[in-house]
């Protein structure tokens, strides 16, 4: 009956004390140009702030940029808080300086694909589109 226009909503978040947000801004702009609605929250977010924003904005995806080396702490923490908040349907993905071993370890904990330096933005966009096509919410 309705002519639904479903947009992919992505929260681009920058957790922790690391203040390097060039990558987050590049990916936010690329997502915008890909037709996503991007909520950008700025620097120095706690996992609690990220999850609260993700819930209120009803995003499909949380994309975190972590360059501080704290990814083994931050990704699982945000994932756990998302699950607690009743947002376990949200895809948690991201990028940063993350070794392949760590990516594999996080993958086992239910974190989505992570992207290292030099990844073309289209790789992340394609990954999110692909995920969304099989996980569209009600």
């Amino acid at each position: 009956m309705s002519e639904s226009i479903r947009k992919i909503r992505v929260l681009v978040a920058k957790p922790g004390l690391d203040g390097h947000d060039r990558g987050a801004k590049v990916i936010a702009a690329a997502f915008r140009d890909a037709g996503f609605e991007v909520i950008y929250t700025g620097l120095h977010q706690t996992p609690e702030m990220i999850v609260s924003a993700a819930v209120q904005e009803d995003v499909d995806v949380v994309a975190m940029s972590v360059l501080s080396g704290a990814h083994l702490t931050l990704f699982p923490r945000v994932k756990a808080l998302l699950d607690d908040a009743g947002a376990d349907h949200v895809l948690l993905t991201g990028g940063g300086i993350i070794s392949e071993d760590d990516m594999a370890a996080l993958d086992e904990q239910g974190i989505g694909k992570l992207f290292g330096p030099g990844t073309p933005t289209t790789a992340a966009i394609d990954y999110i589109r692909e995920w969304f096509s099989t996980h569209e919410a009600v």
Binding site: M1, S2, E3, S4, I5, R6, K7, R9, A28, A29, F31, R32, D33, A34, G35, F36, E37, V38, I39, Y40, T41, G42, Q45, T46, E48, M49, S52, A53, V55, Q56, E57, D58, A85, G86, A87, A137, V138
Partner: protein
């Protein structure tokens, strides 16, 4: 539209149930359903709008970078000190090229993010040109029904003609900055006519006092007090002139009108914010005492019904096989000037409305 009991899909029923029991995730999802106009969204709205409207709706509008988000964040934080539950809707533009959007108003509201008494939602305009998104008014209704004491709405950065906020908010605050322009800008039609309260933000910058004065003078011209209290030459006693302006404004109040205050703020330091909130309260009191609030709500209800009817008519017309077939088959006739777009439209309408 089916408004019978049990008319909702199981998924929507679950959202409705959780919404009514106050779950934040259900409010967030209900907003998405309305924003995307997903199947059944009108039925969901129908179920939710059995209460209200009771919330005080305050709109903030003004040019990009005027400090709307920072003012909204400051206002929300102040209201929280009085334990009010606050909803915030922040609208940013959708790209006309990609259809995407970068919604960045939360950056100014980070301190509020984890406060359970505040709910912030970013909306993209999605092609709407009035300064709000197409469904912002419906989302306001949802927040109202969810039980917030106050809902603050921030428009996209606007120029002169994006005035949809007037139909959405009870109190409209127009936020300007010293760089916003001169006396003639202040006299122009559009944005300058919709304010219930003017705010000159970034008042620590040069030119703020002059802009505030020019807005006051423009308001006087509008009220028919041209030149009465405003000396036309240099070297006047400004403090005296300003006091007289206030006296003149007081007359308007006695006659039952609302005297539009022109306030100065420095949003990032909070300077002037208490006076702004006082003015919002005063306007609220005036709306109630004068009967304007009731009139506003009636007008809003009238508009909403018309909007929904028009939207539905458009859908019916676009989806009608009869209309589509008639249109396609008539294109050749239009090309050969046997028919015109008007005669074809008439035939389609006659068929649809019969």
């Amino acid at each position: 539209m089916s408004h019978e009991a049990g008319g909702l899909s199981p998924a929507l029923s679950s959202v409705l149930e959780r919404f009514l029991s106050g779950e934040v995730t259900a409010l967030a999802r209900a907003i998405s359903i309305v924003e995307d106009e997903r199947d059944g969204f009108e039925d969901l709205l129908h179920r939710v709008l059995t209460v209200g409207p009771s919330t005080c709706r305050v709109g903030f509008t003004g040019p990009p970078g005027a400090g709307k988000s920072t003012l909204v964040a400051g206002a929300a934080a102040s209201y929280r000190e009085h334990d009010e539950r606050i909803g915030v809707i922040a609208v940013d533009p959708t790209s006309p090229y990609s259809g995407g959007a970068l919604l960045g108003d939360r950056i100014r509201m980070n301190d509020l993010t984890t406060d359970p008494g505040i709910f912030i939602r970013s909306m993209a305009t999605r092609g709407s040109l009035g300064g709000l998104a197409t469904t912002t008014k419906e989302v306001l209704d949802l927040m109202d029904a969810f039980g917030f004491d106050r809902v603050l709405v921030e428009t996209v950065g606007v120029g002169q003609t994006e005035l949809a906020i007037t139909a959405a908010a009870d109190t409209v605050i127009v936020v300007l900055v010293p760089e916003s322009g001169d006396a003639i800008q202040a006299m122009k039609a559009g944005l300058m006519e919709i304010a219930d309260i003017f705010v000159v933000n970034k008042a620590d910058r040069p030119g703020a006092d002059r802009l505030a004065k020019q807005i006051r003078q423009a308001l006087h011209l509008k009220a028919g007090h041209a030149l009465k209290d405003i000396p036309a030459h240099h070297g006047v006693d400004l403090s005296n002139a300003l006091r007289k302006e206030r006296t003149t404004d007081a007359e308007a109040v006695e006659q039952g009108g609302w005297s539009i205050p022109v306030l100065s703020t420095v949003a990032h330091s909070g300077e002037g914010l208490p006076k702004l909130l006082e003015a919002v309260e005063a306007h609220r009191a005036w709306l109630q005492a004068s009967g304007q609030l009731e009139a506003c709500r009636r007008a809003r209800a009238r508009n909403r019904v018309q909007d929904v009817v028009e939207r539905e008519m458009r859908r019916v017309a676009r989806r009608s096989e009869f209309a589509t077939e008639l249109l396609e088959s008539a294109l050749d006739d239009i090309a050969e000037r046997v028919e015109t777009p008007y005669s074809v439209a008439r035939r389609i309408l006659d068929g649809l409305l019969r």
